[in-house]
Subunit: 313 residues, 2 copies
């Protein structure tokens, strides 16, 4: 288990490599939500998502000896880009195992950051096997995208920073996939803001965290079906206990709700966010009584979308 | 003619009503442009565009007597929304003449700000006749979208502000349509930064300013054809002499260049900008030698786009 001090240390460590992203507000969205929302915009983070914070903390925590053979991960999405960029900043190789069907935009981004890509079949087993083979061959150090305390501490720096940028929130809300962002956010919020509520936001079509949380039993994500492609994975082993301890409730939202919220953020806030980033707003608009009249800090996870896709009708 | 003092006064007058918008940078776009670009993001301005600055200055410059019957303009685009919002802040009616074929998104936005809409045929003659009839009936005061010194001074506050937010630029670049933004920007830049170059950016398919500037003879915009729908109009009578005096050069860009630049801004900067806002970047990418190694302040005009349109392949 880690604590606020680990997040503060992480922030100290990565401060000069990351962007201190802005906190934006929108009067029209506040009016719709019936609450005062403060959006911490990690879509403006380097590599386009909060994932760079954790990747940076993991990479810059390694000793010279530990990092000498490079780092390796498996990811189809934002963590792949984030680790490739963080590794390039320490001049070490990043071996990225990606499923053969990963989006060409994300593959190009990983290559752009100098990542060395190994493709595999699009199953968790194939990813893990391929990563093991790459590590055996290269001696690289494995970095898990979320089930890792250095990663959790790094992701927690987004909320840590935001708390210092805005008025004290009544509620902090973040999306939940593997739980890296949520667990880091929850520690940062609960250990520094007495009385704050921490709420997780999850698509109904990928509600394994919701089921795990309310049954207090880890439950895998089986055939998740949601547009929020950053939130498909099951909770990590290190993330789940933190979430049980520090999260007050998990809310879910519908698919049309996610698209609607995403469109609102593009249209009213003029920011490009990915579907996963819109899940908190979708939950707020579908459960307004929970948020009525409150100050809410919203962690906006990222902005990596394929713009050739026709997102809105 | 107006001067820097008028822009400073305008900034004083409207300061508490407008957003002081951020200046953003992008390492990847800098690398492509071979220059250091500082984007003044008026897409984050109230009503989604720089137009609110001028509208606000015009409306808040009126005496109680002058404003008593409200204000009127004709616009199919951002100025309609801007004037409706500014008028609502002084609790006076805004009569907005819009062409029958105006985008439903823009019509809804004007209505959302409380504007009273009169539809007309989509010709300049019909717009002017309808506005004249509305003014005769209501006694409202006409506010021209760009050919007006209060408007020019208001639009100049974007550059005025940006110059105080960033390092001293070598070049300031803004798009040109009617010339309100360009003439205000040029005064703000030339009268406060010795040695600065002011460059205007225009679509090749609507290059009336280019032709007017280099022939030193006002030339109308006839059948303009460009995706940059904010830049279709001819230069205003008050704007042209300022542009002749203070602008160093006008560059043009192609239609594919505009779409490419717009996509880069959405994809790399994670901001939603309208095509007109991408015209300066398109010109920089198509004329790189002009900007090589320079610090360039780029005025990003607005972010009001119809998201149901499929913008990118």
């Amino acid at each position: 288990m880690i604590h606020l001090t680990d997040i503060a240390e992480a922030h100290q460590r990565i401060g000069k490599y990351i962007h201190c992203t802005p906190v934006l507000t929108s009067r029209s969205i506040n009016a719709m939500a019936g609450a005062d929302l403060f959006f911490k915009c990690e879509n403006f983070q380097k590599a386009g998502a909060f994932k760079f914070r954790g990747a940076c903390n993991a990479v810059f925590s390694l000793s010279g000896d530990e990092m000498s053979k490079g780092v390796c991960t498996h990811s189809s999405g934002n963590f792949a880009q984030a680790l490739a960029l963080a590794a390039s900043m320490r001049n070490i190789p990043a071996y990225i195992v990606m499923p053969r069907n990963a989006s060409p935009v994300k593959v190009a981004a990983v290559e752009g950051y100098g990542g060395i890509i190994y493709f595999c079949e699009p199953t968790l087993a194939a990813r893990e096997e391929t990563a093991a083979a790459v590590i055996a061959k290269t001696g690289a150090r494995f970095v898990h995208p979320y089930d890792d305390y250095k990663i959790i501490a790094g992701q927690g720096t987004a909320a840590f920073e935001a708390i210092r940028q805005t008025e004290k929130p009544d509620i902090v809300i973040a999306p939940v996939g593997g739980g890296g962002l949520l667990s880091g956010t929850a520690i940062a919020a609960k250990e520094s803001l007495p009385g704050v509520q921490v709420i997780a936001a999850e698509p109904l079509g990928a509600n394994d965290a919701f089921r795990s949380f309310y049954s207090r039993t880890w439950t895998p994500s089986i055939k998740p079906d949601t547009i929020a492609d950053g939130l498909l994975t099951s909770l990590g082993e290190r993330n789940f206990p933190i979430i049980l301890q520090y999260v007050d409730q998990i809310l879910t939202c519908t698919e049309p709700g996610i698209t609607h919220a995403m469109k609102l953020m593009w249209e009213r806030m003029k920011i490009v966010v990915e579907p996963s980033s819109a899940v908190p707003l979708a939950c707020m608009l579908e459960h307004p009584s929970v948020f009525a009249g409150k100050k809410v800090l919203v962690i906006v996870s990222g902005g990596n979308v394929d713009l050739s896709r026709h997102w809105f009708e």
